[in-house]
Protein backbone atom coordinates (compact mmCIF):
# COMPACT_ATOMS: atom_id res chain seq x y z
CA UNK A 1 0.00 0.00 0.00
CA UNK A 2 2.57 2.54 1.08
CA UNK A 3 4.13 1.57 -2.18
CA UNK A 4 1.13 2.60 -4.25
CA UNK A 5 0.60 5.92 -2.57
CA UNK A 6 4.28 6.52 -3.10
CA UNK A 7 3.79 6.09 -6.81
CA UNK A 8 0.85 8.41 -6.77
CA UNK A 9 2.67 11.29 -5.13
CA UNK A 10 5.70 10.96 -7.31
CA UNK A 11 3.84 10.94 -10.57
CA UNK A 12 1.55 13.74 -9.49
CA UNK A 13 4.54 15.91 -8.79
CA UNK A 14 6.03 15.05 -12.14
CA UNK A 15 2.76 15.79 -13.79
CA UNK A 16 2.69 19.25 -12.32
CA UNK A 17 6.20 19.82 -13.52
CA UNK A 18 5.33 18.68 -16.98
CA UNK A 19 2.32 20.97 -17.06
CA UNK A 20 4.56 23.86 -16.13
CA UNK A 21 6.99 22.91 -18.83
CA UNK A 22 4.26 22.63 -21.38
CA UNK A 23 3.00 26.05 -20.44
CA UNK A 24 6.35 27.53 -21.27
CA UNK A 25 7.57 25.23 -24.02
CA UNK A 26 4.15 24.61 -25.50
CA UNK A 27 4.68 20.89 -25.69
CA UNK A 28 4.77 18.63 -22.70
CA UNK A 29 8.05 16.80 -22.44
CA UNK A 30 6.68 13.98 -20.41
CA UNK A 31 3.25 13.18 -21.72
CA UNK A 32 3.77 9.54 -20.87
CA UNK A 33 4.12 10.18 -17.16
CA UNK A 34 1.12 12.42 -16.98
CA UNK A 35 -0.89 9.76 -18.84
CA UNK A 36 0.26 7.22 -16.30
CA UNK A 37 -0.71 9.44 -13.41
CA UNK A 38 -4.18 10.00 -14.84
CA UNK A 39 -4.60 6.31 -15.53
CA UNK A 40 -3.52 5.28 -12.06
CA UNK A 41 -5.56 7.87 -10.20
CA UNK A 42 -8.84 5.96 -10.26
CA UNK A 43 -7.51 2.48 -9.36
CA UNK A 44 -5.34 3.90 -6.58
CA UNK A 45 -8.26 5.85 -5.21
CA UNK A 46 -10.41 2.74 -5.15
CA UNK A 47 -7.69 0.75 -3.45
CA UNK A 48 -7.26 3.35 -0.72
CA UNK A 49 -10.98 3.57 0.01
CA UNK A 50 -11.20 -0.19 0.04
CA UNK A 51 -8.26 -0.61 2.42
CA UNK A 52 -9.64 2.00 4.77
CA UNK A 53 -13.13 0.54 4.69
CA UNK A 54 -11.62 -2.85 5.48
CA UNK A 55 -9.44 -1.46 8.26
CA UNK A 56 -12.45 0.16 9.91
CA UNK A 57 -14.35 -3.10 9.66
CA UNK A 58 -16.93 -1.77 7.24
CA UNK A 59 -16.68 -4.80 5.00
CA UNK A 60 -16.52 -8.47 5.86
CA UNK A 61 -12.98 -9.76 5.70
CA UNK A 62 -13.93 -13.25 4.54
CA UNK A 63 -15.74 -11.92 1.52
CA UNK A 64 -13.75 -8.88 0.62
CA UNK A 65 -10.28 -9.01 2.07
CA UNK A 66 -8.34 -5.78 2.28
CA UNK A 67 -5.80 -4.98 -0.41
CA UNK A 68 -3.01 -5.48 2.09
CA UNK A 69 -4.24 -9.01 2.84
CA UNK A 70 -4.44 -9.72 -0.85
CA UNK A 71 -0.89 -8.51 -1.17
CA UNK A 72 0.20 -10.96 1.48
CA UNK A 73 -1.54 -13.83 -0.30
CA UNK A 74 0.11 -12.65 -3.48
CA UNK A 75 3.56 -12.69 -1.93
CA UNK A 76 2.96 -16.10 -0.45
CA UNK A 77 1.87 -17.54 -3.78
CA UNK A 78 4.89 -16.05 -5.46
CA UNK A 79 7.23 -17.33 -2.76
CA UNK A 80 6.07 -20.91 -3.17
CA UNK A 81 6.37 -20.58 -6.93
CA UNK A 82 2.79 -21.77 -7.28
CA UNK A 83 1.57 -18.62 -8.91
CA UNK A 84 4.17 -18.81 -11.59
CA UNK A 85 3.29 -22.42 -12.42
CA UNK A 86 -0.39 -21.60 -12.68
CA UNK A 87 0.28 -18.48 -14.63
CA UNK A 88 2.60 -20.17 -17.09
CA UNK A 89 0.08 -22.82 -18.02
CA UNK A 90 -2.77 -20.33 -18.27
CA UNK A 91 -0.72 -18.04 -20.43
CA UNK A 92 0.13 -20.93 -22.70
CA UNK A 93 -3.50 -21.95 -22.98
CA UNK A 94 -4.80 -18.45 -23.55
CA UNK A 95 -2.20 -17.66 -26.16
CA UNK A 96 -2.49 -20.93 -28.04
CA UNK A 97 -6.25 -20.70 -27.97
CA UNK A 98 -6.09 -17.13 -29.10
CA UNK A 99 -3.72 -17.92 -31.94
CA UNK A 100 -5.83 -20.79 -33.22
CA UNK A 101 -9.23 -19.20 -32.71
CA UNK A 102 -8.18 -15.70 -33.66
CA UNK A 103 -6.29 -16.91 -36.71
CA UNK A 104 -9.22 -18.94 -37.98
CA UNK A 105 -11.57 -16.08 -37.16
CA UNK A 106 -9.47 -13.69 -39.21
CA UNK A 107 -9.35 -16.04 -42.16
CA UNK A 108 -13.06 -16.79 -42.00
CA UNK A 109 -13.81 -13.09 -41.65
CA UNK A 110 -11.72 -12.32 -44.71
CA UNK A 111 -13.33 -15.08 -46.75
CA UNK A 112 -16.83 -14.09 -45.82
CA UNK A 113 -16.16 -10.39 -46.15
CA UNK A 114 -14.75 -10.86 -49.61
CA UNK A 115 -17.66 -12.60 -51.19
CA UNK A 116 -21.30 -12.18 -50.43
CA UNK A 117 -21.89 -15.73 -51.66
CA UNK A 118 -19.57 -17.13 -49.02
CA UNK A 119 -21.24 -14.82 -46.56
CA UNK A 120 -24.66 -16.22 -47.32
CA UNK A 121 -23.45 -19.79 -46.93
CA UNK A 122 -21.32 -19.48 -43.83
CA UNK A 123 -22.26 -16.43 -41.87
CA UNK A 124 -25.65 -17.66 -40.60
CA UNK A 125 -24.01 -20.78 -39.17
CA UNK A 126 -21.25 -18.77 -37.53
CA UNK A 127 -23.74 -16.35 -36.07
CA UNK A 128 -25.64 -19.21 -34.54
CA UNK A 129 -22.52 -20.74 -33.08
CA UNK A 130 -21.47 -17.37 -31.72
CA UNK A 131 -24.16 -17.23 -29.04
CA UNK A 132 -23.75 -20.78 -27.81
CA UNK A 133 -22.33 -20.51 -24.32
CA UNK A 134 -19.10 -22.29 -23.46
CA UNK A 135 -20.50 -23.71 -20.27
CA UNK A 136 -23.17 -25.51 -22.26
CA UNK A 137 -20.86 -27.17 -24.74
CA UNK A 138 -18.27 -28.40 -22.28
CA UNK A 139 -19.72 -31.95 -22.30
CA UNK A 140 -19.42 -32.09 -26.08
CA UNK A 141 -15.86 -30.87 -25.97
CA UNK A 142 -15.07 -33.55 -23.42
CA UNK A 143 -16.68 -36.14 -25.64
CA UNK A 144 -14.82 -35.08 -28.74
CA UNK A 145 -11.52 -33.90 -27.40
CA UNK A 146 -11.22 -35.31 -23.88
CA UNK A 147 -10.33 -33.07 -21.01
CA UNK A 148 -6.72 -32.64 -21.80
CA UNK A 149 -5.11 -29.50 -23.08
CA UNK A 150 -6.69 -29.89 -26.50
CA UNK A 151 -10.17 -29.51 -25.16
CA UNK A 152 -9.30 -26.45 -23.11
CA UNK A 153 -7.46 -24.79 -25.91
CA UNK A 154 -10.30 -25.39 -28.32
CA UNK A 155 -12.79 -23.97 -25.87
CA UNK A 156 -10.65 -20.85 -25.66
CA UNK A 157 -10.33 -20.79 -29.44
CA UNK A 158 -14.08 -20.87 -29.75
CA UNK A 159 -14.34 -17.72 -27.70
CA UNK A 160 -11.47 -16.00 -29.49
CA UNK A 161 -12.82 -16.85 -32.92
CA UNK A 162 -15.86 -14.62 -33.05
CA UNK A 163 -14.66 -11.11 -32.23
CA UNK A 164 -11.95 -11.33 -34.87
CA UNK A 165 -14.33 -12.93 -37.32
CA UNK A 166 -16.99 -10.26 -36.97
CA UNK A 167 -14.54 -7.41 -36.96
CA UNK A 168 -12.56 -8.59 -39.95
CA UNK A 169 -15.79 -9.21 -41.83
CA UNK A 170 -17.14 -5.77 -41.11
CA UNK A 171 -13.78 -4.17 -41.64
CA UNK A 172 -13.79 -5.38 -45.21
CA UNK A 173 -17.34 -4.29 -45.76
CA UNK A 174 -16.33 -0.85 -44.56
CA UNK A 175 -13.62 -0.40 -47.18
CA UNK A 176 -14.40 2.56 -49.42
CA UNK A 177 -15.63 1.23 -52.74
CA UNK A 178 -13.76 4.05 -54.47
CA UNK A 179 -10.51 2.46 -53.42
CA UNK A 180 -11.75 -0.88 -54.61
CA UNK A 181 -12.27 0.70 -58.01
CA UNK A 182 -8.67 1.84 -57.96
CA UNK A 183 -7.52 -1.65 -57.12
CA UNK A 184 -9.57 -3.01 -60.00
CA UNK A 185 -8.16 -0.50 -62.44
CA UNK A 186 -4.64 -1.31 -61.30
CA UNK A 187 -5.55 -4.99 -61.65
CA UNK A 188 -4.54 -6.10 -58.22
CA UNK A 189 -4.49 -9.85 -57.85
CA UNK A 190 -6.71 -11.29 -55.11
CA UNK A 191 -3.66 -11.57 -52.92
CA UNK A 192 -2.64 -7.96 -53.51
CA UNK A 193 -6.19 -6.89 -52.90
CA UNK A 194 -5.99 -8.50 -49.51
CA UNK A 195 -2.55 -7.34 -48.53
CA UNK A 196 -2.49 -3.90 -50.09
CA UNK A 197 -6.07 -2.82 -49.83
CA UNK A 198 -8.25 -4.80 -47.50
CA UNK A 199 -5.94 -5.54 -44.64
CA UNK A 200 -4.67 -1.97 -44.31
CA UNK A 201 -8.13 -0.47 -44.76
CA UNK A 202 -9.73 -2.88 -42.34
CA UNK A 203 -6.79 -2.68 -39.98
CA UNK A 204 -8.42 -0.43 -37.40
CA UNK A 205 -11.26 -2.90 -37.11
CA UNK A 206 -9.03 -5.93 -37.27
CA UNK A 207 -6.87 -4.61 -34.46
CA UNK A 208 -10.01 -3.94 -32.49
CA UNK A 209 -11.05 -7.52 -33.13
CA UNK A 210 -7.63 -8.61 -31.97
CA UNK A 211 -8.10 -6.81 -28.68
CA UNK A 212 -11.55 -8.23 -28.16
CA UNK A 213 -10.36 -11.72 -29.09
CA UNK A 214 -7.46 -11.55 -26.71
CA UNK A 215 -9.85 -10.44 -24.01
CA UNK A 216 -12.26 -13.24 -24.88
CA UNK A 217 -9.42 -15.75 -24.67
CA UNK A 218 -8.60 -14.61 -21.14
CA UNK A 219 -12.24 -14.73 -20.16
CA UNK A 220 -12.70 -18.22 -21.54
CA UNK A 221 -9.82 -19.47 -19.47
CA UNK A 222 -11.96 -19.89 -16.37
CA UNK A 223 -14.63 -21.96 -18.08
CA UNK A 224 -11.91 -24.00 -19.77
CA UNK A 225 -10.05 -24.62 -16.56
CA UNK A 226 -13.23 -25.77 -14.84
CA UNK A 227 -12.95 -28.82 -17.01
CA UNK A 228 -10.87 -31.57 -15.46
CA UNK A 229 -7.97 -29.32 -14.68
CA UNK A 230 -5.70 -28.89 -11.72
CA UNK A 231 -3.53 -26.06 -12.86
CA UNK A 232 -3.99 -22.56 -14.14
CA UNK A 233 -5.17 -19.24 -12.80
CA UNK A 234 -8.78 -20.15 -13.52
CA UNK A 235 -8.41 -23.32 -11.51
CA UNK A 236 -6.68 -21.38 -8.75
CA UNK A 237 -9.67 -19.10 -8.48
CA UNK A 238 -12.30 -21.81 -8.56
CA UNK A 239 -10.34 -23.96 -6.14
CA UNK A 240 -9.89 -21.11 -3.70
CA UNK A 241 -13.59 -20.40 -3.90
CA UNK A 242 -14.27 -23.86 -2.50
CA UNK A 243 -12.69 -22.96 0.81
CA UNK A 244 -13.60 -19.32 0.69
CA UNK A 245 -9.95 -18.32 0.43
CA UNK A 246 -11.04 -15.00 -0.86
CA UNK A 247 -7.61 -13.39 -0.93
CA UNK A 248 -6.45 -16.02 -3.35
CA UNK A 249 -9.54 -15.43 -5.49
CA UNK A 250 -8.56 -11.79 -5.63
CA UNK A 251 -5.01 -12.59 -6.54
CA UNK A 252 -6.44 -14.49 -9.49
CA UNK A 253 -8.75 -11.65 -10.42
CA UNK A 254 -5.90 -9.18 -10.27
CA UNK A 255 -3.77 -11.34 -12.50
CA UNK A 256 -6.59 -11.52 -15.01
CA UNK A 257 -7.04 -7.78 -14.87
CA UNK A 258 -3.35 -6.99 -15.21
CA UNK A 259 -2.73 -9.37 -18.04
CA UNK A 260 -5.86 -8.36 -19.81
CA UNK A 261 -4.73 -4.77 -19.63
CA UNK A 262 -1.17 -5.65 -20.59
CA UNK A 263 -2.14 -7.58 -23.70
CA UNK A 264 -4.52 -4.81 -24.61
CA UNK A 265 -1.81 -2.19 -24.25
CA UNK A 266 0.47 -4.25 -26.42
CA UNK A 267 -2.05 -4.36 -29.24
CA UNK A 268 -2.65 -0.64 -28.89
CA UNK A 269 1.03 0.03 -29.10
CA UNK A 270 1.10 -1.72 -32.44
CA UNK A 271 -2.08 0.06 -33.40
CA UNK A 272 -0.36 3.40 -32.91
CA UNK A 273 2.54 2.37 -35.04
CA UNK A 274 0.59 0.67 -37.79
CA UNK A 275 -2.02 3.37 -38.12
CA UNK A 276 0.26 6.38 -38.28
CA UNK A 277 -1.03 7.07 -41.79
CA UNK A 278 -4.49 7.74 -40.45
CA UNK A 279 -5.90 11.23 -40.39
CA UNK A 280 -8.63 10.78 -37.87
CA UNK A 281 -9.91 12.35 -34.71
CA UNK A 282 -7.52 11.95 -31.81
CA UNK A 283 -9.72 13.06 -28.92
Amino acid sequence: MSNQTGVLTRTTVERKQSIKESATKKQSKNPFQSHLARGLALPVFIIIVWELAGAYGLISATLLPRPSEILIAFKELIRTGELFTHFKISLFRALTGFLIGGGLGLLAGLAVGFSSKTEQSLDPTFQMLRTIPSLAVIPLFILWFGFGELSKILLISKSAFFPLYVNAFLGIRGVDSKLFDVAKVLEFSKWKQITKLILPAALPNILLGLRLSLGAAWLALVAAELMGSSEGIGYLIMDARQFSQTSVVFVGIIIFAVFGKASDSLVRYFEKRLLKWRDSYIG
Binding site: V182, K184, V185, L186, S189, K192, L197, P200, L203, R278
Partner: protein, 255 residues
Protein backbone atom coordinates in the same frame (compact mmCIF):
# COMPACT_ATOMS: atom_id res chain seq x y z
CA UNK B 1 -8.45 1.66 -86.90
CA UNK B 2 -11.41 1.88 -84.52
CA UNK B 3 -10.36 1.01 -81.04
CA UNK B 4 -13.44 1.88 -79.04
CA UNK B 5 -17.03 1.57 -80.22
CA UNK B 6 -19.81 2.90 -78.06
CA UNK B 7 -23.33 2.55 -79.31
CA UNK B 8 -26.76 3.20 -77.87
CA UNK B 9 -25.30 3.53 -74.41
CA UNK B 10 -27.87 4.25 -71.68
CA UNK B 11 -27.19 4.52 -67.99
CA UNK B 12 -29.58 5.51 -65.27
CA UNK B 13 -29.26 5.40 -61.50
CA UNK B 14 -32.01 4.25 -59.25
CA UNK B 15 -31.99 6.15 -56.01
CA UNK B 16 -34.35 6.31 -53.09
CA UNK B 17 -36.12 9.25 -54.66
CA UNK B 18 -36.50 8.07 -58.25
CA UNK B 19 -34.41 7.50 -61.32
CA UNK B 20 -31.63 9.78 -62.56
CA UNK B 21 -30.87 9.39 -66.25
CA UNK B 22 -27.15 9.97 -66.44
CA UNK B 23 -26.45 8.94 -70.04
CA UNK B 24 -28.79 8.45 -72.96
CA UNK B 25 -28.14 7.12 -76.43
CA UNK B 26 -24.42 7.77 -76.48
CA UNK B 27 -22.74 6.82 -79.76
CA UNK B 28 -19.03 7.36 -80.13
CA UNK B 29 -16.22 5.71 -82.04
CA UNK B 30 -12.64 6.37 -81.08
CA UNK B 31 -9.68 5.44 -83.22
CA UNK B 32 -6.44 4.01 -82.00
CA UNK B 33 -4.14 6.89 -81.07
CA UNK B 34 -6.79 9.58 -80.98
CA UNK B 35 -6.87 12.29 -78.32
CA UNK B 36 -10.49 12.86 -77.35
CA UNK B 37 -11.42 15.58 -74.90
CA UNK B 38 -14.85 15.72 -73.34
CA UNK B 39 -16.43 18.88 -72.04
CA UNK B 40 -19.87 19.49 -70.64
CA UNK B 41 -21.64 21.03 -67.70
CA UNK B 42 -21.18 19.67 -64.23
CA UNK B 43 -23.26 16.55 -63.70
CA UNK B 44 -23.79 15.75 -67.37
CA UNK B 45 -22.35 12.25 -67.07
CA UNK B 46 -18.71 12.62 -68.08
CA UNK B 47 -17.35 10.64 -65.17
CA UNK B 48 -20.03 8.03 -65.63
CA UNK B 49 -19.04 7.62 -69.26
CA UNK B 50 -15.39 7.18 -68.34
CA UNK B 51 -16.22 4.62 -65.68
CA UNK B 52 -18.24 2.62 -68.19
CA UNK B 53 -15.41 2.65 -70.70
CA UNK B 54 -13.01 1.57 -67.97
CA UNK B 55 -15.26 -1.38 -67.16
CA UNK B 56 -15.91 -0.19 -63.62
CA UNK B 57 -19.60 0.28 -64.25
CA UNK B 58 -21.34 -2.54 -66.10
CA UNK B 59 -24.95 -1.85 -65.19
CA UNK B 60 -25.69 -0.08 -68.45
CA UNK B 61 -27.65 -0.82 -71.60
CA UNK B 62 -26.13 -0.68 -75.05
CA UNK B 63 -22.75 -1.90 -76.13
CA UNK B 64 -19.22 -0.78 -75.38
CA UNK B 65 -16.58 -2.56 -77.42
CA UNK B 66 -12.84 -2.21 -77.02
CA UNK B 67 -10.84 -3.91 -79.75
CA UNK B 68 -14.16 -5.49 -80.75
CA UNK B 69 -14.42 -7.11 -77.35
CA UNK B 70 -17.23 -6.33 -74.96
CA UNK B 71 -15.84 -4.37 -72.02
CA UNK B 72 -16.73 -6.42 -68.96
CA UNK B 73 -14.18 -5.24 -66.44
CA UNK B 74 -11.01 -3.26 -65.98
CA UNK B 75 -7.99 -4.53 -67.84
CA UNK B 76 -4.31 -3.93 -68.08
CA UNK B 77 -4.71 -1.82 -71.23
CA UNK B 78 -6.74 0.87 -69.56
CA UNK B 79 -5.30 3.46 -67.24
CA UNK B 80 -7.66 5.63 -65.24
CA UNK B 81 -7.04 8.91 -63.49
CA UNK B 82 -10.00 9.52 -61.22
CA UNK B 83 -11.58 12.87 -60.58
CA UNK B 84 -10.35 12.74 -56.98
CA UNK B 85 -6.82 11.51 -56.23
CA UNK B 86 -8.00 8.29 -54.50
CA UNK B 87 -4.60 7.49 -53.06
CA UNK B 88 -4.16 4.62 -50.63
CA UNK B 89 -3.77 6.53 -47.38
CA UNK B 90 -1.53 3.86 -45.86
CA UNK B 91 1.05 3.97 -48.65
CA UNK B 92 3.72 6.57 -49.15
CA UNK B 93 3.87 8.57 -52.38
CA UNK B 94 6.44 6.21 -53.83
CA UNK B 95 4.43 3.12 -52.99
CA UNK B 96 1.20 4.65 -54.16
CA UNK B 97 2.79 5.22 -57.54
CA UNK B 98 4.28 1.75 -57.72
CA UNK B 99 0.93 0.36 -56.47
CA UNK B 100 0.98 -3.34 -57.24
CA UNK B 101 4.51 -3.52 -58.58
CA UNK B 102 7.29 -4.36 -56.14
CA UNK B 103 8.97 -1.06 -55.22
CA UNK B 104 12.22 -2.83 -54.46
CA UNK B 105 12.81 -3.98 -58.03
CA UNK B 106 15.31 -1.88 -59.87
CA UNK B 107 13.27 -1.38 -63.01
CA UNK B 108 10.25 -0.23 -61.07
CA UNK B 109 12.36 1.93 -58.83
CA UNK B 110 13.91 3.75 -61.74
CA UNK B 111 10.58 4.30 -63.41
CA UNK B 112 8.98 5.53 -60.19
CA UNK B 113 11.78 8.01 -59.65
CA UNK B 114 11.45 9.21 -63.21
CA UNK B 115 7.72 9.78 -62.76
CA UNK B 116 8.19 11.57 -59.46
CA UNK B 117 10.51 13.97 -61.25
CA UNK B 118 8.02 14.35 -64.07
CA UNK B 119 5.23 15.40 -61.72
CA UNK B 120 7.68 17.46 -59.66
CA UNK B 121 7.36 15.72 -56.32
CA UNK B 122 11.03 15.18 -55.55
CA UNK B 123 11.55 15.05 -51.81
CA UNK B 124 8.07 13.74 -51.08
CA UNK B 125 8.76 10.10 -51.97
CA UNK B 126 8.11 8.97 -48.44
CA UNK B 127 5.28 11.30 -47.51
CA UNK B 128 1.89 9.86 -46.66
CA UNK B 129 -1.15 11.20 -48.58
CA UNK B 130 -2.39 13.13 -45.53
CA UNK B 131 0.81 15.15 -45.71
CA UNK B 132 0.23 16.30 -49.27
CA UNK B 133 -1.56 19.33 -50.63
CA UNK B 134 -4.52 18.85 -52.96
CA UNK B 135 -2.50 19.44 -56.12
CA UNK B 136 0.32 17.23 -54.94
CA UNK B 137 -2.07 14.35 -54.34
CA UNK B 138 -3.50 14.80 -57.79
CA UNK B 139 -0.04 14.63 -59.31
CA UNK B 140 0.67 11.39 -57.45
CA UNK B 141 -2.43 9.87 -58.96
CA UNK B 142 -1.33 11.00 -62.41
CA UNK B 143 2.06 9.40 -61.92
CA UNK B 144 0.40 6.20 -60.77
CA UNK B 145 -1.62 5.93 -63.96
CA UNK B 146 1.33 6.76 -66.19
CA UNK B 147 3.58 4.12 -64.67
CA UNK B 148 1.82 1.29 -66.44
CA UNK B 149 1.99 2.69 -69.98
CA UNK B 150 -1.60 1.80 -70.78
CA UNK B 151 -2.89 1.57 -74.33
CA UNK B 152 -5.91 3.68 -73.42
CA UNK B 153 -5.70 6.38 -70.82
CA UNK B 154 -8.90 7.71 -69.29
CA UNK B 155 -8.43 11.02 -67.52
CA UNK B 156 -11.16 12.64 -65.44
CA UNK B 157 -10.26 16.30 -64.92
CA UNK B 158 -6.70 15.33 -64.08
CA UNK B 159 -5.32 18.86 -63.86
CA UNK B 160 -8.23 20.50 -62.03
CA UNK B 161 -6.28 21.20 -58.87
CA UNK B 162 -3.05 22.40 -60.50
CA UNK B 163 -1.82 25.93 -60.87
CA UNK B 164 -1.45 27.41 -64.36
CA UNK B 165 2.19 26.55 -64.79
CA UNK B 166 2.18 23.08 -63.38
CA UNK B 167 -0.86 22.52 -65.51
CA UNK B 168 0.78 23.53 -68.76
CA UNK B 169 3.83 21.49 -67.81
CA UNK B 170 1.59 18.47 -67.32
CA UNK B 171 -0.12 19.14 -70.63
CA UNK B 172 3.22 18.96 -72.36
CA UNK B 173 4.09 15.78 -70.53
CA UNK B 174 0.83 14.24 -71.66
CA UNK B 175 1.23 15.31 -75.30
CA UNK B 176 4.71 13.91 -75.22
CA UNK B 177 3.51 10.54 -73.99
CA UNK B 178 0.69 10.58 -76.53
CA UNK B 179 3.01 11.23 -79.42
CA UNK B 180 5.69 8.77 -78.32
CA UNK B 181 3.45 5.87 -77.35
CA UNK B 182 0.42 6.51 -79.57
CA UNK B 183 -1.67 6.13 -76.39
CA UNK B 184 -5.35 6.66 -76.98
CA UNK B 185 -6.52 9.42 -74.63
CA UNK B 186 -9.99 10.19 -73.40
CA UNK B 187 -9.73 13.32 -71.36
CA UNK B 188 -12.46 15.09 -69.41
CA UNK B 189 -11.86 18.74 -68.62
CA UNK B 190 -13.65 21.95 -67.75
CA UNK B 191 -11.07 24.13 -69.38
CA UNK B 192 -12.09 24.85 -72.96
CA UNK B 193 -8.62 26.08 -73.94
CA UNK B 194 -7.12 22.93 -72.59
CA UNK B 195 -9.65 20.82 -74.44
CA UNK B 196 -8.80 22.44 -77.75
CA UNK B 197 -5.10 22.58 -77.07
CA UNK B 198 -4.85 18.84 -76.58
CA UNK B 199 -7.55 17.19 -78.63
CA UNK B 200 -7.89 15.62 -82.01
CA UNK B 201 -11.62 15.81 -81.37
CA UNK B 202 -13.61 17.69 -78.74
CA UNK B 203 -16.83 16.05 -77.54
CA UNK B 204 -19.41 18.46 -76.15
CA UNK B 205 -22.11 17.01 -73.94
CA UNK B 206 -25.63 18.08 -73.02
CA UNK B 207 -26.86 17.53 -69.48
CA UNK B 208 -29.90 15.80 -67.96
CA UNK B 209 -29.87 13.32 -69.52
CA UNK B 210 -26.29 13.27 -70.71
CA UNK B 211 -26.16 13.11 -74.50
CA UNK B 212 -23.51 14.03 -77.03
CA UNK B 213 -24.34 17.40 -78.52
CA UNK B 214 -21.50 17.86 -80.92
CA UNK B 215 -18.14 16.38 -81.84
CA UNK B 216 -15.69 19.01 -83.14
CA UNK B 217 -12.55 17.80 -84.89
CA UNK B 218 -9.46 19.94 -84.23
CA UNK B 219 -7.20 19.84 -87.22
CA UNK B 220 -4.35 21.97 -85.97
CA UNK B 221 -0.79 20.82 -85.88
CA UNK B 222 1.13 20.41 -82.72
CA UNK B 223 2.62 22.40 -81.06
CA UNK B 224 -0.44 24.60 -80.96
CA UNK B 225 -0.53 28.19 -79.84
CA UNK B 226 -3.49 29.61 -77.99
CA UNK B 227 -3.01 32.98 -79.65
CA UNK B 228 -3.14 31.44 -83.12
CA UNK B 229 -6.20 32.80 -85.04
CA UNK B 230 -7.24 29.31 -86.12
CA UNK B 231 -7.18 28.28 -82.47
CA UNK B 232 -9.25 31.31 -81.53
CA UNK B 233 -11.74 30.51 -84.25
CA UNK B 234 -12.31 27.01 -83.01
CA UNK B 235 -12.48 28.40 -79.50
CA UNK B 236 -15.31 30.67 -80.57
CA UNK B 237 -17.11 27.75 -82.12
CA UNK B 238 -16.80 25.61 -79.01
CA UNK B 239 -17.84 28.49 -76.80
CA UNK B 240 -20.95 29.24 -78.79
CA UNK B 241 -21.85 25.58 -78.82
CA UNK B 242 -21.35 25.49 -75.11
CA UNK B 243 -23.52 28.54 -74.64
CA UNK B 244 -26.30 26.68 -76.37
CA UNK B 245 -25.79 23.84 -73.89
CA UNK B 246 -26.18 26.39 -71.16
CA UNK B 247 -29.43 27.60 -72.60
CA UNK B 248 -30.58 24.06 -73.18
CA UNK B 249 -29.94 23.32 -69.53
CA UNK B 250 -31.96 26.28 -68.35
CA UNK B 251 -34.99 25.27 -70.38
CA UNK B 252 -34.69 21.55 -69.76
CA UNK B 253 -37.20 19.94 -67.49
CA UNK B 254 -35.72 19.63 -64.04
CA UNK B 255 -34.84 15.94 -63.70
Amino acid sequence: MTLLQISKLDRSFETGKGVTKALEQIDLNVNQGEFITVIGPSGCGKSTLLKIIAGLDTSHEGSVLLDNQKVSGPSIDKGFIFQEPRLFPWLTVEKNIAANLPVKENATQGRVRELINLVRLEGFENAYPKELSGGMAQRVSIARALLRNPKVLLLDEPFGALDAFTRSHMQEVLLDIWQKNRTTMIFVTHDIDEAIYLASRVVIMNPRPGTIREVIPIELNHPRRKTDPAFQEIRQRVLSEFEKVEEFEKTAAVR
